[in-house]
Subunit: 203 residues, 2 copies
Amino acid sequence: MEVETVPAVKGRPREFCVDQALAQALHVFWAKGYDGASMTDLTEAMGITKPSLYAAFGNKEALFHKALDLYEAEKLEYTRAALQQPTARKVAEYYLRSGVDVHAAEGDPHGCMGLMSSLACSPEAESIKADVIRRRASSQRALVERFEQAKREGDLPAHIDAEGLMSFLYAILQGITVQAGAGATRAELEKLVDTSLALWPSA
Amino acid sequence: MEVETVPAVKGRPREFCVDQALAQALHVFWAKGYDGASMTDLTEAMGITKPSLYAAFGNKEALFHKALDLYEAEKLEYTRAALQQPTARKVAEYYLRSGVDVHAAEGDPHGCMGLMSSLACSPEAESIKADVIRRRASSQRALVERFEQAKREGDLPAHIDAEGLMSFLYAILQGITVQAGAGATRAELEKLVDTSLALWPSA
DNA sequence: CGACTTCCATAACGAGCGGTATATAATAGG
DNA sequence: CCTATTATATACCGCTCGTTATGGAAGTCG
């Protein structure tokens, strides 16, 4: 999978890097939300003009979906890595501590891009909401299965409801992202995580 | 404090009820968020024209703040009632069960108006965010004090961090409102509450 | 009955939105 | 060199936004 140094396409070559421009667009969407990010915001941050944007990405909605793909691949990778942890408790701890790392990071916007786009987006953005909710449901399903495996392996009490526990863990994570977006300090978020883990059921 | 049946004002009397119109506006803001609710949405739901709205409420932002006042007074009253419960556990249970009742009610929009307005609002609505966050902070302070009282009264273990527990309870509530807004069923939300309460620290 | 005051209805304002038509510049193949 | 193809740059489109000016309708006061 070598990058072709010679473009082998006919016309004038584009003068910007698509991946880099997409990363800038992600940053804008993350900071301002789908509706709040105007095409002017986006093109200025991406360093390209509107026709270039439309030629390369389609339209605003398509750009957002591609940005969301990048966001999940880069920033939400921890939701997959967490499942590999040996015990349910460690899964939860990995989930929450990584959640704090990602959603209260120094150089990135605070809060969760998916959450802020699943709420509050208003007019035509129903497809955005649906996309985010669909992705979230997939992640939640994996978490339920992981907890049922943990029950079988004995590191979760048998009386625990896996779906309830997943919903619980997800709620904590959502609370983390909400509070991070509202300006909570990292110390406050870590205290929240510590408190949550102190209450986590032990086998 | 009698209602004056004779207006005693000079000009033409207004033809709509301000309180009722505000209630309609609240419903629209709750369902669509600050940015998502257009003046046309609002005036249509309120049954009045734009000049009437501006004369009675000032502008969109002032209308929102008044709607938020009404929302807190009517729908978030439970956050104050919860503090009166005799034990910290009952405070938490009252908080969470009322949260489900309010944010997944039949006739009202699902999710929390304050939360959806504190996230994602975009351009000029910074003052909205600040207002919501300020109100939230006041509620959170009361909860911390209630938990410290509970520690003194012995119905919370002494090693518990009151701020951490408040942040935890708030995160669950925020998770409830997020999941309610995303279409979670009432049964799912109640399962989340049951799981959370099962993990609540006992004295 | 005016005079005055307040409210309602229509229509319009400027600004910003997402999206695009047009013209020009840069590369490839013939 | 010429044509075809693609990217860029400028300017603009129609639309909706929040907000307001204007004219008339509906009241109280003298």
